[in-house]
């Protein structure tokens, strides 16, 4: 049942062991071993999920991922809350880099400004106000024994489920079948074409078949001549893989291009995100604003009542 020859299995096991050793316990040396095991687990993960492409692309992705996950683990395992908050800020910088890498520029900036700039600073303020003296027992040993093992086990189970789902071969859906048909057609006809369109240009956003026919959405605009040739070739190409899909394509085949509004990678990124946010999600934006206001008032009320509890006789004297 469990495939011990796969790097993914070892990655999950090492992840659990490393995290279990890293969280605060009595011994410094055990935590250092935990950090080494954790790095080995990340190496296994990167072996289990190979990525293709230019080496610089891959290196940037790997480094950002290492920063995000590594500093997250460091944040969990620091005994001092100040260090934990600072490591969490570094983790947020890594996540912001990952957002930028996906082309989500606005979110990357917002993560740095709001999260690392405001939320982490609030944490540091509270650490400053509520600071017990010296090193506390509860930071040094946390919940010892079986509680720790159960906690780490729950996290490892979650990672195991995600890894298992991602490494199992999924049955191909309509989108996968159409994508592989287009790729096969592209590979066959590319030498005889002189348009210089590379395989990546055929990126398929969506393909859906129903009673009316087959609807295909491509990301990039293509020359009309090429499109006509693809339209003619696609039903034949689908014939070998999936008969119902080919029948739908014969009935009616719509090939569309992604509209500008839907193109997440469009250079006009912030304007399009704003259009979605203030168009589709307008009411949610209003509600989020109200929730922010309510939280602000609530936080001040709670903090002020706490102050009054600290000096109970002040109100009577005045």
């Amino acid at each position: 049942m469990i495939a011990w020859d796969q790097p993914a299995t070892w990655a999950v096991v090492l992840f659990a062991i490393g995290l279990g050793l890293m969280v605060p316990n009595g011994s410094m040396r055990r935590r250092a071993i935990g950090a080494v095991v954790g790095l080995a687990s990340l190496a296994c993960f990167s072996a289990a999920f190979p990525v293709s492409g230019p080496w610089l692309d891959r290196a940037v992705f790997r480094i950002l991922a290492l920063i995000a996950v590594g500093s997250a683990a460091a944040s969990v395992s620091m005994r001092n809350a100040v260090y934990a908050a600072v490591w969490f800020a570094i983790c947020l910088l890594g996540v912001a880099g990952l957002f930028l890498y996906q082309g989500a520029q606005f979110l990357g900036v917002v993560t740095v400004v709001v999260y690392a700039g405001a939320i982490v600073v609030t944490f540091l303020f509270v650490i400053m106000l509520a600071q017990p003296t010296g090193q506390m027992v509860y930071d040094r040993i946390t919940w010892g024994g079986e509680a720790k093992i159960l906690g780490v086990g729950a996290g490892a189970l979650l990672v195991a489920i995600v890894t298992g789902l991602l490494t199992t071969d999924r049955p191909p859906d309509d989108r996968d079948r159409v994508a592989s048909a287009i790729a096969a057609w592209d590979a066959r006809t590319a030498p005889s074409r002189s348009d210089g369109i590379a395989g990546a240009e055929w990126y398929l956003v969506d393909a859906r078949a129903d009673d009316g026919g087959l609807r295909v959405v491509l990301r990039n605009d293509l020359p009309p001549v090429l499109l006509d040739r693809l339209r003619a070739a696609l039903p034949h190409e689908l014939e070998s893989g999936d008969a119902p899909l080919a029948a739908a394509a014969r009935k009616q085949l719509d090939i569309e291009f992604l509209s500008i509004e839907d193109n997440v990678l469009h250079p006009n990124h912030v304007a399009l995100l704003g259009r979605n946010l203030y168009g589709r999600h307008l009411i949610s934006v209003e509600i989020a604003g109200t929730v922010l206001l309510a939280a602000l008032v609530g936080a001040i009320a709670v903090a002020m009542r706490a102050r009054r509890a600290e000096r109970p006789y002040e109100g009577e004297a005045a």
Partner: protein
């Protein structure tokens, strides 16, 4: 890097961040660190939402991450105010201090086998309390900061 590999990598990263946050929330006892770990779980979800948004070319994922950030800010404000109130009541950040709220029938937790604090671990970097003028340290020879964690 092709899009499917990118999606897989980001989903895995989101899962790892969520799992690390979950483990931290279950294992740590410091209220502030537990709260940080909850924020880390939100980050894990945000990473996978952005990945899906790119893969399906749908803006809703990125809009939802913006809402996550807004709610995280609310949560931080209210949660930290509560932590402050609890700290002023009990003078400790230990979540086990509030174990009187546990279910009936559960036994009380007692810390056993606490390892001895080593000498070099006693000196602990501190932030200056808010609103108080920092005092000059008279004894220059005294070790005030530990270089190693």
């Amino acid at each position: 890097m092709n899009e499917r590999e990118l999606l897989d990598g980001y989903l895995l990263l989101g899962g790892l961040l969520f799992a690390i946050g979950l483990v931290g929330f279950l294992v740590r006892r410091n209220l502030i660190v537990m709260f940080l770990c909850a924020e880390m779980m939100l980050q894990g979800v945000a990473v996978s939402l952005v990945a899906w948004s790119r893969f399906r070319h749908n803006w809703d994922g990125q809009s939802m991450v913006l809402f996550i950030i807004a709610i995280a800010a609310c949560e931080a404000a209210v949660g930290l105010a509560l932590i402050l109130a609890l700290f002023q009541r009990s003078r400790t950040l230990d979540v086990a201090y509030w174990q009187d709220l546990r279910e009936p029938g559960q036994s009380r937790r007692v810390d056993r086998g606490v390892p001895e604090e080593r000498r070099e671990e006693r000196i602990w970097p501190r932030l200056t309390p808010a609103g108080v003028m920092p005092r000059e340290d008279q004894d220059k020879n005294k070790e005030t900061h530990r270089a190693r964690v």
